[in-house]
């Protein structure tokens, strides 16, 4: 076992001890196929939770998106995202000649699964904010990759914005039924539908 693998297992153990990190698969069993997971975003912990809720064999092929300027700034942060999580780096500053989705498209062409948070930023109002259009563009370019909505519950209580140490509180990740972009579906309609799918998973019951 290599050091990053061991670090990954240790991290998963700690996350389980603190949050339980239970995955509830409703409508889509965990499966070794290429997928795009999209979820609500409330805390830095969100990615770790989804990652822990996945079966261990699927973890290495499922990659998060990390902001290049932040996650490559320190040696440890860079190592963690590169070696342990195998993150896809994107730059937040948009330059003229470059498509910001380029690294994501590259990863998907490689056959990897992605986890994206289409709100673009962390919200703590309960209801997710309107989705950014990245999800739509990916769905358009990769019509055969199923899109799996996911709802992360309770995580804002574990680590509110601005705090460093997490409080042990049970969290769960609910994965919903896969959806696809319909032929000739409007961008706004699709993004609204995707957001509703995520919110529906969070509704009690």
């Amino acid at each position: 076992m290599t050091l990053p693998e061991a670090a990954g297992l240790a991290l998963a153990f700690v996350a389980r001890l603190i949050t339980g990190a239970q995955g509830h698969w409703k409508g889509s069993p965990p499966k070794a196929e290429q997928r795009i997971y999209f979820a609500n975003h409330q805390s830095h912990f969100d990615w770790v939770l989804i990652w822990c809720a996945l079966p261990r064999d699927l973890r290495s092929a499922t990659r998060p998106i990390a902001a290049r300027d932040y996650w490559t700034s320190g040696a440890f942060k860079h190592w963690l995202t590169r070696e342990v999580f195998n993150a896809v780096y994107v730059s937040r500053t948009r330059s003229e000649d470059e498509d910001p989705l380029e690294p994501l498209v590259h990863a998907l062409k490689n056959g990897d699964s992605l986890v994206i948070f289409p709100e673009g930023t962390r919200s703590n109002k309960g209801e997710p904010q309107p989705f950014k259009s990245g999800l739509y563009h990916l769905a358009e370019q990769f019509p055969n990759v199923p899109l799996i909505p996911a709802w992360i519950d309770n995580v804002q209580r574990v680590m509110p914005k601005g705090e460093v140490v997490p409080v042990p509180i049970l969290c769960s990740v609910t994965f919903g039924a896969p959806m696809r972009l319909d032929a000739a579906e409007d961008k706004r309609v699709f993004l609204e539908r995707a957001r509703d799918a995520v919110i529906a998973l969070g509704a009690p019951g």
Binding site: G20, E163, P168, I169
Partner: protein, 322 residues
Amino acid sequence: MGALRELSVTQQVGLLFVIVFGVLLLASLIAFARSLRELTPEQKERHERFVRDLRAVWIGAVLFWLAWASGAFVATLLFALISFLALREFITLMHTRRGDHRALLAAFFVVLPLQYLIVGTRHFDLFTVMIPVYAFIALPILGALGNDPTRFLERTAKIQWGTMVCVYGMSHAPALLLLDFKGYEGRGAFLVLYLVVIVACAQIVQEAASRRLRRRPVARAISRSFSWRSWFIGAVAAGVVSLLMSWATPFKPGQALAIGFVASGCGTLGDLVMKALKRDAGVRHWGGRASVTGAVGLLDRVAPICFAAPVFFHSVRWYFGV
């Protein structure tokens, strides 16, 4: 029972584990035989519940056997872990706010380890007052520093109550290891097992009795199954089991009966309190099945011990003057 008293500690406890595992094996065999028969949906549900409870008892028994085999240190550590998981579940059920973050951190990462450290190092006097005195002053202070007056009393009470039940109550179980009876040295670990067994007995018998008797529930809005008669039957059954186990304890038969009755009676009443708490938190069906938050009902299983252990510990200590 005189011959049994003559045996050495290890032999007695070994014998007890043989009995416990024998009974469990028998129960598992019966459950297996039943599963081969055709069952109506109602019977099937009851059967599944029984199998689930039985599995929990198996896990508990194996854990205690491991703890016994590896000594007081591991037993204390085991209870600390259970305490942590129970408190985690308790806090998940409660509505805390951002301002509670520091107080919660203190409860989980300072109070809890400290309490078990004190148990482990046998600082007996400090152990009884650490949480009711020091922690209960420190936690509201941290809460107030969180700068959020909304429902302050309610939030503070929740954290304190959770600490009291899940940490303070639970820590009395490994603290039994501290008790030094005359001529009974080195058997503390056994008393822990003894307590757990009688409390579990009371709970199982009470459940069975309430299903048979169908009495009018005392507190219908909280528990549909709790009635005084079934409670009494459960506690008496625990007293009888305690009596049957008395040859391995420092108690005389009469004392064993009384202590078993009192401790397990408190335990099952504690279970009722926990039910009320869950109703308040809006959780209806719990045991065994994972809820939305992913909690698996550990709190349900350990709550009776959290209530029974302090009563058992202090009544024994007061009565025997140890």
